[in-house]
């Protein structure tokens, strides 16, 4: 049994363990959930330690038959792209457990059982190398989240849960059709095998076929990302979800979409991806600016952070569809950054909500006076989120901008506007919530961070600084994986050599001189 299989199986075992604990014993349930999630996190760190960046192949591979005919295999493995996403999932699950410690006080057992079960589904999505298996994990991770939002959410939770579920399902059923079509063409669900068929030119699609298949996958991923204009489920889901649900949703679940784009869309459908890149990039840029503008006018903190996610994820999509090494590296780095910093923002907003029982920014003010440590941590997270150098987001955003600048400088300019806007809405939020005179309810209820809260937020803050300064810890595996993905996008792409009129050529030469 490889380390990776342990990471997948342990949460399921933990789920069963929690189910076995009597439901009145809240303490034991919480402790068990924390212990299991920490253990899985420890194991996943082992993945990072034993991961060999120099190897081009997938590592920690398990490949055994599951269904004989048509051949569906349990085929899992990781490369530099999935490695960090797996660790991100395993890191944020204990954080989710810790922030729910007090917050969840009814149906405690079910909550933690679902949270731990979901971890397995999330890891599975990032490690599955069989398309069928990938689809199974993709769907399995949905159901716990539906319940986390629907049962433990705020007032409009049912509406939000149903909307979340229907949006995601509508996209993914078409992906299933596309996967089955791929199977009938390639006669296998095994992803590396399909890729090598594509690379060798033995599996070729007509332009129409490729476009439809690309769109089938793309729609599922774009809804999950979420790309403008498919983002409308996200603010509802975030605002209504409990803190742990928001954290996992923002930090990990949204990455399923961008991961899918990188892992499947680009290598499988290189021509279609390149062909559709312009309008996708435009949508991403609209998302960046639109998300930031809408975030600015939100009176509700969680909604503000949710719209900022739309903006941040726009950067990721833009980086992916730049088709440059820098852009892809930046996109993956930004996926991790967003997981850390937006996750931290949701954690902190959750802390504030636990104290004041309100998400309205207007109900706060002067929080820095009664809770200076909380204010400092929030400040660091805010600065990280707006891309201050030395903190993590700067690296990702810089790489994305640099990558897109190589392709289309206008995109870079518009995307950079998003960064300025992000400084506006985040600093304005900080100013309104933390500075000024503290009203009576804030002084009465808002206290500083407790040890448990420190333990939830501190790892994230450390990572913000670490990822912002020591990028070489994280980038080499990502770069190697991205280089291979880019290599695939160059194969079997149709080339059109156009003969230029002589006049145009000479004008260009003149300009060059």
């Amino acid at each position: 049994m490889t380390l990776l299989n342990l990471c997948l199986a342990l949460p399921v075992a933990g789920f069963l363990l929690i189910l076995a604990i009597p439901k009145e014993n809240h303490r034991a349930i919480r402790t068990a959930a924390l212990a299991v999630s920490l253990l899985v996190f420890g194991l996943s760190l082992g993945l990072a330690v034993r991961f060999d960046t120099s190897l081009p192949a997938y590592q920690f591979v398990t490949n055994v038959p599951w269904i004989a005919s048509p051949a569906i295999r349990y085929h899992v493995g990781i490369d530099g792209l999935s490695l960090w996403l797996v660790i991100l999932s395993t890191l944020l699950t204990p954080v989710g457990v810790l922030v729910s410690w007090r917050y969840i006080d009814r149906r405690v057992k079910e909550f933690y059982a679902l949270l731990i079960l979901m971890e397995s589904g999330l890891i599975g999505v990032f490690v599955a190398l069989d398309l069928f298996l990938f689809y199974v994990f993709w769907e399995v991770s949905l159901i716990p989240m539906y319940f986390l939002i629907g049962v433990w959410g705020h007032e409009r939770r049912i509406y939000a849960a149903v909307k979340f579920f229907l949006f995601t399902m509508a996209g993914s059923v078409l992906m299933l059709a596309a996967i089955i079509y791929l199977y009938t063409q390639a006669a296998t669900f095994d992803y590396p095998a399909i890729l090598s068929l594509v690379a060798e030119g033995r599996l070729r699609f007509s332009p129409l076929e490729e476009t439809l298949l690309f769109l089938g996958f793309f729609l599922a991923f774009a809804i999950k990302v979420p790309l403008f204009p498919l983002h409308t489920w996200l603010p509802d889901a975030h605002v209504e979800a409990p803190t742990a649900g928001s954290v996992i949703l923002a930090s990990v679940m949204l990455k399923m979409g961008t991961y899918g784009l990188l892992r499947f869309s680009l290598p499988l459908f290189p021509s279609a991806s390149r062909e559709h890149a312009p309008w996708i990039a435009v949508l991403a840029i609209i998302g960046i600016i639109y998300g930031a503008l809408v975030a600015m006018v939100q009176p509700n903190m969680k909604k503000l952070v949710a719209y900022s996610s739309v903006s941040h994820l726009g950067f990721v999509v833009l980086g992916i569809f730049s088709f440059t090494q820098l852009g892809l590296d930046g996109a993956v780095y930004q996926m991790l950054n967003h997981g850390i910093s937006t996750g931290a923002l949701f954690v902190l907003v959750g802390f504030l909500y636990e104290r004041r029982h309100s998400l309205e920014i207007a109900d706060y003010g002067g929080v820095a006076t009664p809770a200076p440590n909380l204010a400092v941590v929030f400040m660091i997270t805010t600065l990280a989120s707006i891309g201050l150098p030395v903190l993590n987001n700067f690296v990702g955003e810089y790489l994305v901008l640099q990558g897109t600048a190589q392709v289309n400088f206008r995109w870079t300019v518009f995307a950079a506007i998003g960064i300025i806007l992000s400084a506006c809405y985040m600093l304005w939020l900080y100013q309104r919530a933390f500075f000024g005179a503290a009203p009576e309810p804030v002084r009465a209820h808002v206290h500083d961070l407790s040890p448990r809260e420190w333990s939830a937020i501190l790892p994230l803050v450390v990572l913000m600084v670490w990822m912002g300064t020591a990028t070489q810890t994280f980038l080499p595996p990502i770069g190697a994986a991205n280089a291979r993905i880019l290599e695939h996008t160059r194969q079997n792409v149709e080339f059109h050599v156009k003969q230029r009129p002589p006049g145009a050529a000479s004008a260009e030469v003149a300009r060059a001189r």
């Binding site: 048509p70 629907g150 229907l166 078409l174």
Partner: protein, 489 residues
Amino acid sequence: MSQYYTTTDHFVLVPALMLALFGCAVLLFEVLVFPHPRQRKWLLLFVLLGLAFAGAGVWRQQNFLASQGIEELTAFGGTLTVDGFAIFFNWIFLAASLIVTLISYRYLEVEGEHHGEYYGLILLANCGMFFLATGTDLITLFIGLELMALCFYILVGFLREDRRSNEAALKYLLLGAFSSGFLVYGFSVLYGLAGSTKLRAVADALASREPWDPVVFLALATTAVGLLFKISAVPFHMWAPDAYEGAPTTVTAYLSVGSKAASFALLLRVFLMPLGAAREVWEPLLAAVAVATMTVGNLAAVTQTNIKRLLAYSSISHAGYILLGLIAGNETGIKGVLVYILVYTFMNLGAFLVVVALRRKDLLGEDLDDLAGLVYKSPGYAILMLIFLLSLAGIPPTAGFIAKYYIFLALIETRHYVLAVIGTLYVAVAIYYYFRIVRSMFLAPLADTGPLTTSFGLRLALVVTGVLTLGIGIYPEPFLGFAQTSLAR
């Protein structure tokens, strides 16, 4: 050809004989031997014995075919054929009858209509189903169909004091008789074409004719109307919601599973063998019917507030999906149809079992609101219901997903892309209405604090269907193999 009753004939007929004998015995014994209501549990024992003997018969047939390495065994001069296909369906029928019997005892007591003939009718209906799966002769098939249908007409109206039940039975009887008329007319035309009632002879006769021959078309159209009525395909589905709602819930469960599976067995036999030659004629017709069936089933289910009606529309839409497998028609497609019917049997039965448990003396337990907050009251039932609903919707890792997957795979293999996309899109619609039930169970506050009507049989049946629904989804291999062997024709 022997005129007499040979050993082979007997060997093939044993399951039906057992079902008929025990069915009649139950009817007689209720009057003569066990007249007292307290003695009814002995009748239950008879039913179980009958099912066990029938099962043993099927088991011996299966072993015989396997040990001799032959694909089929014909009896009564080609009137009955035992092959993998028949055995596969017979196991499904027996399993459905067993589960329905287990849950009926307590339910009928709650309804206050506990009579022994109920069990006799179940066994006789199962006997009819046997002939539908095994028969390869038009007359045998028709008699099997009528035997099953007559039992169901009575069972649907079994709640004598309940107006809804009476109305449902009458509606079902009138429309059913009408459709049987169509079917028998179609059969008579087929006989006229072939000069024989044997399916094989009919197939030979049709193969020598043009597919668009008007007489063939007449036979095809009328037969199709009769068959599509039985599987409640649109536009012949009108009876289903009313019959499902009015019938006792246990009968609804049996009707939606047993009757539908048996009708599909008949449909497959008739469409693949004698009418197979005219595939180019019926394929577009069935495709239109399948799309209409999925559309009406899924869209009408969205607004239902009665769970039985909702499940009725959902079962209409499932008939559409199963038809899609037949339209694809390649090996994957037919395998998909068989897997789908197998999976559907367990998941649909399971969903109805939970509805059965909701019925109390003072509560109808059919409204969506009656399920509100079920998870607070009985989490086990709520979680099992969730598994059944996820499976009905086709979400992995449940069995329903595997079933739908085979249908879609077959459609794409045979280049029916539009049908595949329509089918997948309706999955999203289906999720909406199945999740209305989930929402009610898990997210709504607890409305009714009274206890569920439960019994050992019900709990056992729930666990079995639940384990199978999840188990086939996680490890489908043995069941797929079972469906594969039953295909070898």
